[in-house]
Symmetry: C2
């Protein structure tokens, strides 16, 4: 999660909402280390998780990430939770919960729904205070401009 | 929707689940015309809708698609519905409903939830039988190998 936090810090410096992600393969290899880049790439789908999934799949030459673990500093949104299910990721570790925008333990709680065809094991709250502090600080700075 | 259907036909020929999408700008310009390419690109996020959103945003140099309309042959899944909300698409026209995998009028019905920060106007069932027939035929052929 420290690597994901490092990525989130880089995102903040680039004026992107500070979220970072790391994708780890079945045997512990780092397959991707990414951060939010919606503004830099002019791409609303360029959340840290989506970029991590795309990079890891490209690296493995496979559209499935069976046995892989995703570490992300913020609870995934509906788009990213959907992508995690599509990619068949085995384990999801997230940092700060997202009461408003999250879709894992908040909102539509996608993985708990009957319509969800694959649900990863979920461990939330990893380095929660560090992950949350980064976001709080970022939005406070933007508000005070 | 005919253009989206044409794309879905191309997808079927490439052994991809036949779903096609077209993104139309505020003034009627075609911004993107895409199809499912998960297998070709080894990318579980390469649904027709995601590719359309990414292409259109790149074309406009903007991470928002305000005033734009998305035509897609199948009801979007949670990932794509989430992306449609992130992109702030104004209108969604879809063809066949997806009872199992859809997230607009089925499943988590994302746009009807309080947690959803942007909901497009939705018109479902456009060319429904043509869109559905293409999928039914594709899966029947795969089963019979």
């Amino acid at each position: 999660m420290q690597m994901a936090l490092d990525e989130a810090h880089i995102a903040a410096q680039a004026n992107e909402v500070p979220v970072g992600a790391v994708l780890v393969g079945q045997d512990g290899d780092i397959l991707a280390q990414t951060r939010n880049q919606m503004r830099a790439l002019n791409d609303p789908t360029a959340h840290a998780e989506i970029l991590a999934i795309r990079q890891a799949c490209e690296k493995l030459g496979n559209e499935r990430l069976m046995g892989c673990s995703l570490y992300v500093t913020l609870e995934p949104c509906p788009m990213c939770a959907g992508a995690i299910a599509e990619a068949r990721i085995a384990k999801l570790f997230y940092g700060a919960p997202d009461i408003k925008g999250g879709a894992v333990d908040n909102g539509v709680a996608l993985f708990d729904q009957k319509c969800c065809h694959h649900a990863p094991e979920v461990i939330g709250g990893l380095r929660e205070s560090d992950c949350a502090a980064l976001l709080t600080e970022f939005f406070a700075l933007r508000r005070n401009g």
